[in-house]
Subunit: 461 residues, 2 copies
Amino acid sequence: MKDQRDQNIPYKIYLNENEMPKAWYNVRADMKKKPAPLLNPQTLEPMKFEELRPVFCDELIKQELDDTTAYFEIPQEIRDFYKMFRPSPLIRAYCLEEKLQTPAKIYYKFEGNNTSGSHKLNSAIAQAYYAKKQGLKGITTETGAGQWGTALSMASAYLGLDCQVYMVKCSYEQKPFRREVMRTYGAKVTPSPSDKTEVGRKILQEHPGTSGSLGCAISEAVEAATNQEGYRYVLGSVLNQVLLHQSIIGLECKVALDKYGIKPDMIIGCAGGGSNLGGLISPFLGEMLRGEADYELIAVEPASCPSLTRGKYAYDYCDTGKVCPLSKMYTLGSNFIPSSSHSGGLRYHGMNSVLSEAYDQGLMKAVSVEQTRVFEAAQEFAKVEGILPAPESSHAIRVAIDEALKCKETGEEKTILFGLTGTGYFDMMAYGKFNDGEMSDYIPTDEELEKSFATLPKIEK
Amino acid sequence: MKDQRDQNIPYKIYLNENEMPKAWYNVRADMKKKPAPLLNPQTLEPMKFEELRPVFCDELIKQELDDTTAYFEIPQEIRDFYKMFRPSPLIRAYCLEEKLQTPAKIYYKFEGNNTSGSHKLNSAIAQAYYAKKQGLKGITTETGAGQWGTALSMASAYLGLDCQVYMVKCSYEQKPFRREVMRTYGAKVTPSPSDKTEVGRKILQEHPGTSGSLGCAISEAVEAATNQEGYRYVLGSVLNQVLLHQSIIGLECKVALDKYGIKPDMIIGCAGGGSNLGGLISPFLGEMLRGEADYELIAVEPASCPSLTRGKYAYDYCDTGKVCPLSKMYTLGSNFIPSSSHSGGLRYHGMNSVLSEAYDQGLMKAVSVEQTRVFEAAQEFAKVEGILPAPESSHAIRVAIDEALKCKETGEEKTILFGLTGTGYFDMMAYGKFNDGEMSDYIPTDEELEKSFATLPKIEK
């Protein structure tokens, strides 16, 4: 039974709808040393607006390439959609603190209270909106764990756009119910690699029986977009436009924290392609860049897919089929596929370029964690906080708990903020494995990584 | 794109934590003609406190038998737990209204934003709390669709109680992931009927290959509770104590509606055992009973399990094994098992006695709907409101949409409130059937019902 609660701070801080941010924040505008530009894989010159037009929506390309405009107004239609599931609550983890007996104060921003089950909907509606505004018929995309595909299906259904999703085959098979959610929203879902695209057929020929990868699904979705009149490709992570849209997470956090006079010492987020982490930390990183405040920023990645902690900072292909622009990022090589024992998402081989640059500049730390410890944290959290977290989000929970336990040893009263990106309702096969004691950890060997690094393009920029 | 919104009414109305009700409301206190008492199946006399003690927790029996106390204070510990997922939002269905082009104003109270996925957690924590307070080791229960079992697992994990769940076999098989959620929260889940109990073995012998029923799972859970030292049985619906705890739904609604000066004309809820509907309408029914206001109250049940619309108002067994007290209720007979084509919950043969009495007194209406029309409504709702609803909740959505469309014809600007009890994330097999066009409807024939009515005990009270 809990009773030691701060009477001034509610369990859940909900902003009013009129307190919601009206503009997204583009942290690149405050970076002195900007992230490296996307390169054209043929010319190795920075990608231009016109070159990206066959693949991406016009307005989104502008957002992607703009590293000087600090704020982009959120169109009213998107703000109205946001009201379906935003503002999301900032929750004080009173019960977890009590359970851990830590002097740390733990907060988490919970993005899972919507049918997509994660923060992905923040960018999905923005991307679908601009596609609709451009008069397109439909959009194509890839999805790994399935949250992004679900989010995009929801946004597309709302706006009456056709939505075609290439779903990484192992997720397609492990998560049949995700597929049904997308279908309920009217999306067409194809397991990737498929024989629907040239790149898919090529990959299937070279790697028969492959369980797929995000990089490969991206290639297929891009090809599908360029081959259909009135279609464009959209992506749920990695890109700067996604970080821009996801900044709504951090901006809401900031308003809520300021309202109650709370200043976090440490901000923790899980990192796959970087969409949630980048969105969460953007406004805080902005303060650091402007010299207004200091925070300890921590990216948490799976030990089985350690792009920041063990990757190289280099230009690399964003996709297996090498049809996308080159991006400078921390990467494991575009051929890297995490071990099949790895459950859940966070399986992309690279990292968003803003986060890569911030990490390279020492503005952000990174740690990697093994999945059995992640599921232990998930279960502990679920039992006391009542929310069954997504495996991805549980990476951040693991490190938040570890940091809170360090505070218990040192007696420090640190304020920890972490991002709880989503719920694990469609990850019960992985939980089942964990419940049955059949979950294993896999850490790629140095040799495996070296082999993968060998595929990096030789570009000195 | 939507723009016709009432600027004075937010999309979601969230109460502040300090506006949350501090007491549950017992509508029986305001009923002149009280619901009939539970009867001892041996003596046919009203059940006494002492007789119920071997099965139920002391405090809960007091609440069950008390039909005069109007308000029961909610213990602080339960209110603290409620803060994890309450206050729940009262949502204005702007997007649905726009889609339907109806002059009706539609509101729904959304109880699905918690890991149990439904309103069941409201009573689960209360029942677990009183069990813990009594110093018990654990509790046993049954679950059908699985929400109740999940909710009780969560509450038990939070309080450190052992939790044993008998899950109706067809749900156990159709919803393996529900079982994993319960196991993640540490519960022991057994498909029912099982060979773990005498009554289970008897049912298996008489009906080999049966897919189980709630009535049968109840019998097993009761037997398991009485056979173990320090255990009691708890139930997620049907009982008056459950309606008491669930009154938090209606009470929060009332506060939120009053805050914005909204008066509903019509209140709609799905009805299985009656827990959600009873909780939602209790305070409004109370106003009607006290002559302070008038509302149109509508219970919606599946056409495949029509206890109010086609049942008899009579004393009946609450469970198949006939180990529980007799209750006077609208019932299809305790042997009634809905067709296996029926998806989702709302499959109990009877109805809570307060609701049965209110229905009998003409204070509440009832309609039944077929499941394909229910899933059509669910899909339409999901696409515009962004929430994928539980099949159970979708019964209320169906009728809310039907009523809103009637308003479109007549031009009436009715204010409709309905209960959105939960999410359908664990019902994707049923959605898949619907997506594949393979869902069928089944309405029991008069002959089938007559056969089932023949099993009613002959009691003239």
